[in-house]
């Protein structure tokens, strides 16, 4: 099924959109180019053969010690009862003034709104075009991104020793 979707995307958007397919997982993963992510998302949602109308989950993965992050999208199609895993990989040097940036899909699936805020909050991924990107689970004045593998807790929070 996944190769069929890959062919559809290549036919609909172009060769550069798809990077590769990883087959050695229980669910095959379609790795796509970050630049055409929004186009692919719209295509997967609206094309009759795919119809992935339900976004289950977005999770951000840190591949420390590599300077690499991945954003994984788990899609489901309610009429066809199928599932698809999309993945975007980004290289980044982990500096706080240079967060990894990828386009937001919250205009395609509104589920992405809060999931992207969570990824921004905990992993420090910046989603361009997100309507309301601020921290969601942690306080607004929190420093750092706790789910990154190189995260170290602060010594104090508002003058209170927390270690």
């Amino acid at each position: 099924m996944i190769t069929k979707i890959k062919d559809l995307i290549i036919a609909g958007i172009g060769e550069q959109a798809v990077v590769r397919i990883e087959e050695d997982h229980l669910q095959p993963i379609l790795i796509v180019n970050a630049d055409s992510l929004l186009e692919i998302a719209l295509f997967l949602r609206d094309t009759e053969e795919c119809y992935f109308d339900f976004l289950s989950n977005i999770s951000a993965v840190d591949f420390h010690p590599d300077n690499r992050f991945a954003i994984v999208y788990h899609l489901a199609s309610i009429p066809y009862q199928t599932q698809l895993v999309l993945k975007v990989e980004i290289e980044n040097d982990r500096r706080f003034d240079n967060l990894p940036e990828i386009p937001s899909v919250s205009t395609v699936w509104r589920t992405a709104d809060w999931h992207e805020r969570e990824a921004f909050d905990l992993m420090g991924i910046f989603f361009t075009g997100h309507p309301d990107l601020r921290r969601i689970l942690l306080p607004d004045d929190w420093q750092g991104y706790p789910l990154r593998k190189d995260y170290e807790d602060a010594e104090t929070y508002h003058g209170i020793a927390i270690k």
């Binding site: 050695d24 997982h25 229980l26 669910q27 993963i29 109308d53 339900f54 976004l55 289950s56 989950n57 999770s59 993965v61 840190d62 591949f63 994984v72 788990h74 309610i78 009862q81 599932q83 895993v85 706080f96 003034d97 967060l99 699936w109 509104r110 589920t111 709104d113 809060w114 905990l122 910046f126 997100h130 309301d132 990107l133 601020r134 921290r135 969601i136 689970l137 942690l138 306080p139 607004d140 706790p146 789910l147």
Partner: protein, 396 residues
């Protein structure tokens, strides 16, 4: 740095820019009808809610980070604390994901599977009873709340008998169970079902067809199916909008394909399809279906998969979970909706690189600003109650 904090600045500007007619009201985090520590910042014009800004995180414990620092078995008690009203269902989903990656799912004894489904469905009833009871109290009906808690206590006692703990069980393990069911459990469970069935009819008479209750819930908070799907709503939320989507049937995990049950959906009996009453009614109907599932499980457990002296519920429990580096997303039907776990495993260690929990309440709650806009404050309470959130899972 500035464009990273732009969202925050926009939010502050929005609050600062309200007109003199409007007022900001903080509902929560200690508001009784938010079912936990949820803070809703309302921009109101008189009694009408113009905008809702939910603030989460008061119960945040970073489950993901915990799960990344210990092995899979040790994470199971943490999954219990996600949606603490349906701990069995949480650990069932988590354990199933690990078992599928280990490829031992098909080797599990049928008795183990039936016991899992039995305790999960008992827990589903307990969770829905809380949803129904507290919803009644949100609207102003006190009696159903007491009735629901009285019946729920029987389930809590039974599950405590099986697992040793009242709410946070750690009963379902990777590759099996903590213990077999205690001797006499099946008979007591049957006794409970016989007691509970007429109580359900009573509850229906008291609340579902109550004219005051209908006036407060019918035609309020209407959630069309397309909006529900787009916001990632699942479980009773989605089904109340008329979509027959139940992962127990769609994915057919565990022994659910061998069990007969219906998937109740909203029909718009009292008002428009997808209103608060429909969401409430779907939960009541699901309790009835769960009773059917439990009866079938008990029947199979007493006839085909009887307790035998050589039955070892821990027979397949691995000493160490050795997985190759891979990714897997498991989803399962919780009382609140689709609970998912995204695993990213690493080579040569039994500590995962990443475990992300996708809580159904988190996604169901995100539709609240859409549902509540333009409603009265009193109706907002009715809408929030019908979403049935558990903050342990929203905040994780």
């Amino acid at each position: 740095m500035t464009h990273y904090t732009k969202g925050l600045e926009n939010y502050k500007k929005k609050i600062a820019a309200i007109t003199s007619q409007e007022m900001v009201i903080n509902m929560g985090p200690q508001h009784p009808s938010t079912h936990g520590v949820l803070r809703l910042e309302l921009i109101t014009d008189g009694e009408v809610v113009k905008d809702i800004i939910p603030h989460l995180g008061y119960l945040h414990r970073c489950f993901d980070k915990h799960a990344e620092s210990m092995n899979y078995g040790k994470t199971i008690p943490f999954t219990d604390r996600l949606d603490y009203l349906s701990s069995m269902n949480n650990s069932h989903a988590f354990v199933m994901g690990v078992e599928r990656m280990l490829k031992i799912e098909d080797k599990l004894p049928k008795r183990v599977e039936y016991i899992r489904v039995l305790v999960c469905e008992l827990n589903r009833i307990a969770s829905h009873l809380i949803a129904i009871g507290t919803y009644g109290i949100d609207i102003g009906a006190f009696t159903p709340f007491m009735w629901c808690f009285r019946d729920r206590e029987h389930i809590m006692n039974m599950l405590e008998w099986a697992s040793g703990s009242r709410m946070l069980y750690n009963y379902i393990w990777v590759g099996g169970l903590f213990y077999d069911l205690p001797v006499g459990f099946e008979a007591r469970c049957q006794e409970f079902i016989d007691y509970f069935k007429p109580k359900l009819v009573e509850l229906d008479d008291l609340l579902s067809n109550n004219q005051i209750f209908i006036s407060r819930t019918a035609n309020i908070g209407v959630l069309p199916a397309d909006v529900a799907i787009n916001y990632g709503c699942s479980g009773p939320m989605l089904r109340a909008s008329g979509i027959r989507w139940d992962l127990r049937r769609v994915d057919g995990y565990s022994v659910y394909p061998e069990i007969e049950f219906e998937i109740p959906i909203g029909k718009g009996e009292m008002g428009i399809l997808g209103d608060c009453w429909d969401r409430y009614k779907v939960r009541v109907d699901e309790v009835k279906e769960s009773v059917k599932i439990i009866e079938q499980c008990l029947q199979r457990l007493e006839a085909d998969f009887k307790r035998t002296p050589d039955f070892d519920p821990r027979g397949l429990v691995p000493k160490k979970v050795n997985l190759k580096a891979q990714e897997y997303y498991i989803r399962a039907e919780n009382p609140k909706g689709e609970l998912g776990f995204h695993f990213v495993t690493q080579e040569k260690t039994d500590v995962p690189r990443r475990v992300k929990a996708r809580g159904p309440s988190f996604n169901n709650l995100s539709v609240l600003p859409e549902l509540g806009k333009g409603q009265l404050i009193a109706d907002l309470i009715a809408i929030l109650g019908s979403i049935d959130i558990v903050l342990g899972e929203v905040d994780r």
